[in-house]
Amino acid sequence: MKERHILFALCALCWTFSGCGRGVFYAVGTESKVVPDPPLSLLWERKLDAAPMGRALNAATLVMQMSTGASLYAFDPYSGDRLGKKTFDRGICGPPAMVGDVVLLGSQGKDAALLAWDRRLEETRWKQAGTFCLPPVVRGDTLIVSSEHGLIRAVDFSTGALLWERNLEVLVRAAPVLRGNRLIVGDGKGVIRGLRLRDGEEVWRDSVDSGVRVRPLVGLEHIWLGTAAGQIAALDGKTGVLQWQVDVGGLPSGEMALTEGILAVGSVDRSVYGIEAATGSVRWKYATEGVVRGSPAAVKGVFYIGSSDGYLYALDASGGDLLWKFRLEGAVTEGVSWVGETLVVMTEKKILYAFGRR
């Protein structure tokens, strides 16, 4: 207990407190590697101004949650104290991402831009004009931003200067990922491209039966992704050649999680699927009472995932057995996150829940 208190001690500059207007978006500490086993205890719950926009961000010592009301909240993961709230004056159009101190936010409308917002200084470092609503990825100083209409840009992360641009001229529904020095992009037609990170040139391509809808997950040997037709597919990580495809009964959830060789993904058929990552065989299927749209989080052989039936589930990765579940107020449609030792999930009723060990 003492260790946790030290872990989340706020820095001396944290002069603000909950509800005072300006917020603290920066804290120091060391991320814990000790996550509790289920069953978990409810640590706290907080009502936010609007529904979640993406899953909570792991800011090491803070829980950061974006809302559809364009507000970014910061909470103490253990006590639930609100440490900050920043409301942006523009329409945020997609889930935020965080790289170090910088929160990256896509906005839409007349002055659409990707904002690089420094949470320490609480100011915008730079803007990249355009509607980039898919979560960006970064490698070193290179930040990759992408639009739903297939425009991909590499920008200098420090300055926002454009490095290269490539227009695929096709819809892109799932955010790209990086594997080594390759950018993996799956498009709305089902074509998966491996682009060279330094200049955006295409190195390989393969295709699946329908549009890519699940953000690819990169492993040592494979790249896994999900499609609009309800398939999970695995490509060879180096060559991009399709290895296997398996049906998950409908549109998969936005992201997958991997632990102990098992991929977990939610589906609109109300189930969570456990798939052997190497072979593609469905190891187990766990049925909930609602559409599973939120992405799972995996840790220590356990998948945590929320369903629109209003439950948070903990499932054993090896056999899909229910280890624990908790009734929430409202449907879960966004992903679950671990922030240190705290599991965070938010419902459509605007309530942010934190679970852990008391």
């Binding site: 609007a50 559809t68 739903e148 209409h149 297939g150 329908s210 549109l251 609109v268 559409v291 629109s308």
Partner: protein
């Protein structure tokens, strides 16, 4: 003042429901009559509350299972869970469905189901075909999910104004996700393309709400899925919050403008359908058109002594559906006038045919009358009823067919359970014989010339589960059913040739409904194609001499009866099939045996909120005004409450003085509708005496309305109130307890255009009396009469007449007003007052512009009807002696904006019927024509 009026405009309709004084005589309008009484129950499934009555329990169980199955399908498609229970109300017949009180509108026969958004209710009837029922249910549930998905997405992003989808998109998506693309879809689009009637997305307002809009919308959704992927719809809904206009959401989602997509879709249709002209023709190019104006369908040959062609058919050339007789080289003659009288509320032209006896003297048809179908036998020459049959267990009747001796009639009948079977009725005894008894949709029976067999179309084969129909023969000796052919297509409307060796029928086996002939042999049937039409050929019947076929052909958006006199020779390819015994039970109702899974409960009629709204306004003269209104009803809409609370606080009145409260209760579940209410009103907008007065009224009322049929009703209402008027009237200050009662009879069989009636007639006569209850003094007795007649001169032109009179006598008579666009034109609004009143209007109504679209400055605004009028008015109001007739002559224009919002501009010159005045009086107002 404007704000006051806006408050009143919301509250007044409900206030008027409660207040009997000024609206004491019933208004016009057709009736929704609850002829049938049911004991309703509720079946609870995981996501639905299914409401049904005992006779349709099997159907309800089927609906419950189908609804659950479709719920899971739609949950996947929308990636969305509807977080509420969905009320599903099932009716075993369209006739019962038309009696629903869930929505107040009268439901035409073309409405296959509806989703109501206040309580999220879905209501639908069984039309006979279970697969079709399933499709309609699926269609309506798409609406439920669409509405809920959009609402939740907007709510999630803090947007409180609902942003509805364009109707073509919601209906198109509902069609797309509820069924496969059909032959009918091809027919509608191909015809629209060749007739240059295809509406682009930008022109969709031209076909708003039509079947063509549904099919074009479905085609657009198919094209969207092909172009952007099946998940484009899910993405579209997910992005719904990101822009206010559908076009912008579309652009955000697809990366393409709606205009560019529109072009691409139209191009794809041309590419798909234009080549078809090389292989096929429009019906009018390959057969002789035998009918003219309007929709003309379902011909039946009238056999005669000579070889001339005589046939009967359904026509709506004059608006109403009627049965016409067409003799060769003569003008058509209407022999049965439908939809005007209680006996022929509907002739069901879409679902039934007309039968003619072999001697050519009698015809038989089914018609809806007083809550059920009856079978009418009609003398063609005399044009009058020869006999009428109705059957206890049968609600709906269709497609009668005479036996060769004319003594019996085979028909397709729907029982209370909703399932449709074949029956034979003996005309002399009225006895009924049931031929089939199962869940299959047995329809369109046709008796063979030798009397041994009845050919019919049915879904009683494996393909029937998918909604396909095939042809069967019912062999009367031995009660065997033989199957003529089966495949993944629809065979329908069989008709025997005069020699009994062939059957002509309509089939979409080659992707378009064409005519085919089946030659019957001992154990096989040979089928050959007769036509290659671009659009569709239906309802074929042989000429009496066997040398030609009459049929209904679809072209340019309508149907005509055509004659195919050059039948292809036998060299046309013939496909042979074995004639086999029909399977006894080719498919079953899914879930029928799982009924026990669902909880059954008696119907409790819990009241839930329909409307709750409030408004507050500030006015320099009247001060603060505001009010709330609430409406509650049960799921079936049979029991309703309305509650109005408003306050019009003036600077000179206290709080209680300005308070208006009214509570009304309506019981609509039976043929006898009754209501009661309590009110406490202090309104200053009363103008009974020709000026604004203030009357405090406190009391209650009881009302009864008894509709005899869709067109006729008797109403009466009794009210008791304490009345206090704030001004002196003829030297007296009026105050006291008043009892008021009235009775009136109303008939309405008028047919409407968007601006008002165009054909038919309506009248209302009544008598009312107001008595000072305490002093036993008669305040007034009032007589009322109003007769209106609309004579159609052409399809869209008519001559309208109105004769209206009111006469009130007693110590405190009622006063009536004249003047303005609704009564006596050329005179200012309510400028003539009196306790007696007479009014005569004559008006020629004609079209000016069919459709007016204004593109500036707000984008396209579509006005559906722009019409003109020439009129002559005469009338006056007086107290003691009638002095003179006042009149006016003039012209006007009408512009329909939707509903009651019809803009009216009249220019009139007064006349004393000797000369015409020089001054032109202009009147700009709104409302329907009289």
């Amino acid at each position: 003042m404007g704000d006051i009026l806006s408050v009143l405009s919301i509250l007044l309709p409900l206030l008027l429901l409660s207040v009997p004084l000024h609206a004491q005589f019933g208004s016009f309008g057709k009736n929704k009559v609850n002829f049938a009484q049911f004991s309703w129950q509720k079946m609870e499934t995981p996501h639905f509350d299914v409401f049904f009555f005992e006779e349709e329990r099997e159907l309800a169980s089927y609906a419950a299972h189908m609804a659950e199955r479709q719920y899971f399908d739609l949950e996947k498609k929308f990636t969305h869970t509807v977080q509420r229970r969905i009320p599903l109300i099932v009716y075993s017949s369209h006739i019962y469905f038309e009696q629903t009180n869930i929505i107040p509108n009268l439901l035409p026969e073309g409405v296959a189901g509806f989703t109501e958004y206040l309580k999220g209710r879905v209501a639908l009837p069984l039309s006979g075909s279970l697969p079709d029922f399933e499709r309609v249910l699926h269609h309506e549930l798409v609406h439920v999910f669409t509405f809920d998905r959009i609402a939740r997405v907007l709510e999630r992003h803090g947007i409180h104004d609902f942003r509805p989808a364009p109707l073509w998109f919601t209906e198109g998506l509902a069609e797309y996700w509820s069924s496969e693309w059909s032959t009918f879809g091809d027919m509608i689009l191909r015809d629209a393309l060749f007739a240059r009637r295809l509406a682009s997305i930008a022109q969709m307002h031209f076909i708003y709400g039509t079947f063509q809009m549904y099919k074009e919308g479905e085609s657009i959704c198919h094209f969207m899925a092909d172009r952007y992927g099946e998940d484009v719809f899910e993405q579209l809904f997910q992005n719904w919050w990101r822009a206010e206009e559908f076009e912008d959401v579309f652009l955000l989602t697809t990366g393409e403008t709606l205009a560019a997509f529109d072009e691409a879709w139209l191009y794809s249709l041309r590419k798909r359908y234009l080549p078809d002209i090389a292989q096929s023709d429009l019906p009018s190019q390959m057969a002789s058109v035998r009918t003219g104006e309007g929709f003309n369908i379902k011909p039946t040959i009238v056999p005669g002594a000579n070889d001339s062609l005589t046939f009967v058919y359904f026509t709506n050339s004059q608006g109403y559906t009627q049965i016409a007789l067409q003799r060769e080289d003569e003008a058509p003659e209407i022999i049965v006038a439908g939809e005007r009288l209680p006996a022929f509320e509907s002739l069901h032209p879409l679902s039934t045919t007309i039968a003619v006896a072999s001697d050519g003297k009698m015809l038989a048809f089914s018609a809806k009358s007083r809550g059920r179908d009856r079978l009418y036998v009609w003398d063609i020459e005399e044009k009058q009823e020869h006999g009428v049959l109705s059957f206890d267990g049968i609600v709906a009747i269709s497609s009668p067919s005479f036996s060769p001796d004319g003594q019996r009639i085979a028909f397709s009948g729907a029982s209370h359970s909703g399932f449709v079977d074949l029956y034979i009725a003996n005309l002399a005894s009225g006895q009924l014989e049931r031929l089939t008894r199962d869940v299959y949709h047995d329809r369109q029976p046709c008796w063979s010339p030798d009397g041994q067999m009845i050919a019919f179309s049915s879904d009683r084969f494996v393909g029937g589960r998918k909604g396909r129909y095939s042809l069967f023969l019912y062999v009367l000796e031995g009660d065997r059913i033989l199957h003529l052919d089966q495949g993944d297509h629809n065979d329908q409307s069989p008709s025997f040739s005069p020699d009994g060796r062939s059957i002509v029928f309509s089939s979409d086996r080659d992707s378009t409904f064409n005519l085919y002939v089946a030659n019957l042999e001992e154990e096989r049937v040979g089928t050959r194609r007769l036509t290659h039409v671009l659009t569709g050929a239906f309802d074929p019947v042989w000429r009496a001499d066997g040398n030609g076929v009459l049929f209904s052909g679809f072209e340019a958006g309508g149907f005509q009866v055509l004659e195919l006199d050059q039948l292809p020779t036998d060299s046309t390819a013939v496909s042979w099939y074995p004639v086999v015994e029909a399977e006894t039970e080719p498919w079953q109702l899914a879930g029928e045996r799982q009924e026990s899974l669902f909880a059954l409960r008696p119907y409790r009629g819990d009241m839930k909120l329909d409307i709750a709204q409030s408004q507050i306004s500030q006015d320099p003269q009247f001060g603060t005004s505001g009010g709330i209104q609430l409406a509650l009803s049960d799921v079936l809409g049979n029991e309703q409450y309305t509650f109005v609370l408003s306050h019009i606080a003036g600077s000179q009145t206290g709080f209680f003085d300005g308070l208006n409260i009214a509570l009304s209760r309506y019981h609509l579940g039976q043929q006898l509708n009754w209501s009661w209410g309590l009110f406490r009103l202090n309104d200053r907008f009363s103008s009974t005496f020709g000026r604004f007065v203030r009357e405090k009224r406190t009391g209650g009322f009881v009302g009864v309305s008894y509709p005899f049929s869709r067109h006729d009703r008797l109403e009466t209402r009794l009210s008791l109130r304490h009345s206090k008027i704030d001004r002196q009237f003829e030297g007296r200050r009026l105050s006291g307890w008043l009892a008021n009662n009235f009775i009136n009879y109303t008939h309405d069989s008028s047919l409407w255009l968007p601006t008002g009636p165009i054909e038919g007639h309506r009248f209302s006569v009544g008598l009312g009396q107001t008595v000072d209850f305490k002093g036993s003094r008669r305040f007034n007795t009032t007589f009322f009469g109003d007769y209106r007649y609309y004579m159609r001169l052409s399809q869209r032109t008519s001559w309208a007449m109105r004769y209206m009179g009111r006469y009130s006598m007693g110590d405190v008579p009622e006063y009536f007003s004249l003047g303005g666009s609704w009564t006596l034109r050329g005179y200012p609004w309510r400028s003539l007052w009196g306790s007696k009143m007479v009014l005569i209007n004559g008006e020629l109504r004609f079209p000016l512009v069919d459709r007016l679209v204004i593109g500036f400055p707000f984008g396209a605004i579509d006005f559906s009807s722009f019409r003109g009028a020439l009129f002559a008015d005469a009338g006056n109001a007086w107290n003691r002696t009638f002095d003179e007739w006042r009149g006016a002559l003039g012209a006007g224009m009408r512009l329909a904006l939707g509903g009651v919002f019809v803009f009216r501009l009249d220019a009139a010159r007064r006349t004393d019927f000797k000369r015409l005045g020089n001054e032109t009086h202009w009147d700009f107002f709104f409302g329907w024509d009289f």
